[in-house]
């Protein structure tokens, strides 16, 4: 059981890394630091996907989230933190109220998790990582998810055109 011990140790390390950097995203003052903490969180979640034998999603997580979304967010930071270095203040009343609501949500989620029967746990036989890319690809391209895939690609296209339209420079007609 030496192998299982090391495995759970690595799991705890990844879990701690993920949650700790998520907390940093929320608490840190500098917005660029928050973005980089978010990067660590996203990498941590990708590591957990590997633990769950979802290799395709782990790669996609790194490529799409870290390589795409995070870079986009950093661009957003760059374009919005101009001359006035904004102070990021947290009001006390908001902190208490927000914490209370979040605590309620956490208790609700934990209650649901612990009260739902017949979850015996992942049957972890320590087998090797089986590639999931082929299965997912077949499910999307030939299986039941073809229509959602097409719909979501149109959604993405529309969203990108909309984003370009919203953020373009105002062009005034010269009359």
């Amino acid at each position: 059981m030496e192998f299982a011990g090391i495995k759970s140790l690595i799991f705890y390390a990844f879990a701690l890394l993920t949650v700790a950097s998520a907390v940093l995203v929320v608490t840190v003052r500098n917005i660029v630091h928050a973005a980089f903490s978010l990067m660590i969180t996203l990498f941590g979640v990708a590591g957990l996907y590997v633990f769950l034998q979802a290799d395709f999603l782990a790669a996609t997580q790194v490529i799409v989230y870290v390589g795409g979304i995070l870079v986009l967010i950093l661009f957003g930071v760059m374009m919005t933190s101009g001359r006035l270095q904004m102070r990021i203040q947290i009001e006390r009343g908001q902190l208490i109220l927000g914490g209370l609501v979040a605590l309620l949500i956490l208790l609700l989620l934990f209650g649901v998790i612990s009260n739902t029967p017949h979850w015996e746990g992942i049957k972890d036989d320590g087998s090797t990582l089986e590639p999931t890319t082929r299965t997912i690809g077949e499910m999307i391209m030939q299986g039941e998810f073809l229509l959602p895939f097409e719909v979501v690609s149109i959604l993405l296209l529309v969203a990108l055109i909309g984003a370009a339209l919203i953020s373009r420079k105002e062009v005034r007609d010269e009359e």
């Binding site: 904004m86 956490l106 997912i136």
Partner: protein
């Protein structure tokens, strides 16, 4: 590692995201916290998909990622154009639509 651990982790991550949305006033930080919550949901999806031995959950996560990318593109465009007009990304100061 049993499923409960993953779900508890997912719940924790989601709650951190909720706290961020509730207490931070910077629109971009709120944005990042929304990403945190989406990631928490994705983690739960993948964990349950592994538990059931059904890869459908992973396909759902794939779709969630796509929609998240669309959301980030639109959201950042809106934030940038709000910043251009009002010189702020503090959500408390952008309240012209408030009744």
């Amino acid at each position: 590692m049993s499923l409960e651990w993953y779900l508890a982790l997912s719940a924790l991550l989601f709650t951190v995201g909720v706290i961020g949305v509730l207490i931070r006033r910077n629109a971009i930080i709120i944005f990042m916290c929304i990403e945190l919550m989406l990631n928490a949901a994705n983690l739960a999806f993948v964990a349950i998909s592994r538990e059931l031995g059904d890869p459908s959950g992973q396909v759902f996560v794939f779709f969630v990622m796509t929609v998240a990318a669309a959301e980030v593109a639109i959201g950042l465009a809106i934030i940038v154009s709000v910043f251009k007009h009002r010189e702020t990304v503090n959500v408390d100061e952008v309240d012209s639509l408030k009744g």
